[in-house]
Point group: D2
Chain length 119, copies 4
């Protein structure tokens, strides 16, 4: 990891943690949105998202909850739905050196928007 | 499912099974390519791909094997790689009424191409 | 293309055209769903989807219409929306040898489903 | 945009610009990787990526260059390739209030990694 850190010399440890949290939230959203999902498969998809995002730099923990009620509400006549931004509730811990931040992804109905922010 | 079948009145049961197999192979490829992956997470990703694709119409079984050797070969200096077409080996069973077909996704080095075909 | 055709010896020309149409519809759906979109960018996204899918085997034409009314309805408080299955209306021509078929992707409200079928 | 800013009260303007840059780089990478591409379609794909990412909060400019030499090198026997991390060279301007930062996505051969960093 020595090599990579030289690219971040001009930002603080906190800024680095924030940058990496942003990358990982943007990545997981656009990687997994659209995945076919049902009540039976949701647990496995949560595990896969958590594990794949934890591989990325600085991410030390991912808590993810996909809304089971919405999976049922959005179910099509073929018995499944697809992963949508409204279903995602994510809490991600990003750490660089002595700085740790918590970033969240949460659907905000007033904004009609799956907002990513720093807690 | 009665409603949906009226859209397929002009094709045979075998053609329907083949069409749905094509959709599911194209879908899983473009949904999951790019996912961060490592030897530790591959099993969970295989399970998620299998489960999500089995939700789609006519798909009754999915066998998936992601190439562990390639995951190691393609590993970046941060300790993981990302899912690529070369890594995927998939066998998918698609059934409509009394017709069952096997479709495959397999990387063909001579074509430099992750080929999808009917077995 | 000689090499690739040997993998399809056991199916008819029409079945091949249908299989490739299925692949391309599944591919484009799961590649582009989730893309940020607005009235200003929709034309460029339509062009990109059409061009990228026309590269795939057997696809000779793609007509695509993304629902502009829905883009406005689904707009978030930040002034854009994201590409959803409900917005897509696609007509795809797939040809193998002397067989040509038309495949469609169309949202069917009664099924709450973006249905892919053969016309 | 007033509503959204209250979620960012606890970080500085520069941190906000950095966070949004991270989101947009992660988003575009995982949205578009895997797209079928050729020399004929690259210009349109560049335009679509630029336009869709410019819709996201704080992003005021996107310069994108997809490596044409690599598109040819990676071409399969069917005459096209697919968008890969190695092909992407992106420079993104992110601004919040009086703070502007430049973020980059660039493949670093020594790391075998498409690195996202702050210039």
């Amino acid at each position: 990891m020595t090599d990579i850190n030289k690219y971040f010399k001009n930002i603080t440890s906190k800024e680095r943690a924030i940058f990496e949290a942003g990358i990982s939230l943007g990545a997981l959203y656009h990687q997994f949105i659209g995945t076919p999902i049902s009540i039976e498969t949701v647990q496995s998809l949560e595990k896969t998202i958590k594990e794949s995002i934890t591989l990325q730099p600085c991410i030390t923990d991912v808590k993810i909850n996909i809304d089971k009620t919405l999976i049922k509400t959005e179910e099509n006549k073929l018995g499944y739905s697809e992963l949508q931004g409204e279903m995602l509730n994510i809490k991600l811990t990003s750490q660089y050196k002595d700085e740790t931040i918590i970033a969240k992804l949460e659907y905000i109905p007033k904004l009609q928007y799956p907002l990513m922010y720093i807690e």
